[in-house]
Symmetry: C3
Subunit: 157 residues, 3 copies
């Protein structure tokens, strides 16, 4: 038994979304294990077996690099996100991690106040307790149904 | 006391939404009792007392028929949904079922990638434990505030 | 220890949203302590230190006045809201109240059926148990990321 309740998953997702939406991007890598996998991709890419997504990182250090690059490129100046994360569905347990699917919706707010429905999709996660007792992602695939990716440089979702 | 926690309602709704959004439509009838009521309607129709909605079924078999008909008509080829289901509000208990209200929002994703806010509304549910221990719907009314129903044949919400 | 679980916060938010969305506005003040603070504002206003928002009230009586004024102005005839409230994040505890952040998204439905993404943002709340055992808001700041405030008179969010 994994002892990971929906309540803890909800708290994890709430904190994760807050870090991105309140533009505390440097805290984003802390939600992952040191060795991890993060991919931002689309359902179409996933179905076709394309490995590379819009963002790919396989360690917490690479996630931090990604954020540093985005900060330098001033991507964050132009837009903000607001995540609405749905109800987590625990699908099973494997290799000491729970497998969870969670739908999301992301609203994008431009600096001039324009607001649009930016992306919807689901997270495919493998979540476990780290040595400090916190839940973290061993793997988080953010699979967008579709999205208005009009920039080459994407913020994490 | 019904012993039906928010956590179980959340899990039920998460699984229900996933079946539709991941296009596992044949699993949709399994969320209902053999004898049940499902209606997809609008707040305006409900206020006016119109009985027929966009979808009406009063047994699990009729729900299955509905899905078969939609599969034949290839409705599913053109579009997908993404549900964001809100927080369930338990309103009371009657005849061995809990009465629950739950808001929803549905994003529609067309095959060409276009995405729009398709419908918002609330589920009016009567939920009970079936003989196998699973929670199922005795009744689910999906009442849309408004919706872009531009087709005569609607997917379930 | 405050003993305020996520489950109770979820139930509070679900009931709060329902009162507004089902146009039972007269019930809205009941979600607040007699002495309270409610502000509807934008992230930009908050960052600039502007005190006045779109709605400001510092007592339950003032909230009731606000509703009465909106009823007289027939604002409610033209539009409805549908809230999707996200996962509550408990940030801490101070002066006997829990401090909670909760994202929201509001869909607006006009009487002619048009529907749009009206606002996204987060609630910054101070919540405590009232003498009757109900959770109520000592303070609720509804901070919109951006919003289509095209009227001078806003509904509460």
């Amino acid at each position: 038994m994994h002892g990971i309740t929906s309540e803890r998953l909800v708290a994890l997702n709430a904190a994760y979304a807050r870090a991105i939406d309140e533009e505390e991007f440097e805290r984003w890598p802390e939600f992952f294990f040191t060795e991890c996998l993060y991919k931002l991709t689309t359902a179409e890419n996933l179905a076709r077996g394309f490995e590379a997504g819009l963002i790919y990182a396989d360690s917490r250090a690479m996630l931090a690099d990604r954020i540093a690059a985005l900060r330098e490129a001033n991507i964050y100046e132009r837009q903000r996100y607001r995540h609405l994360i749905g109800l987590p569905l625990i699908r099973g347990e494997k290799d000491g991690a729970v497998e969870v699917e969670t739908p999301f919706l992301v609203v994008r707010i431009m600096r001039d106040g324009r607001m649009d429905l930016f992306a919807s999709g689901r997270y495919l996660d493998r979540i476990a307790e780290d040595s400090d007792g916190h839940l973290r992602f061993r793997e988080r695939l953010a699979v967008c149904d579709g999205a208005r990716f009009d920039t080459l440089v994407a913020l994490p979702i």
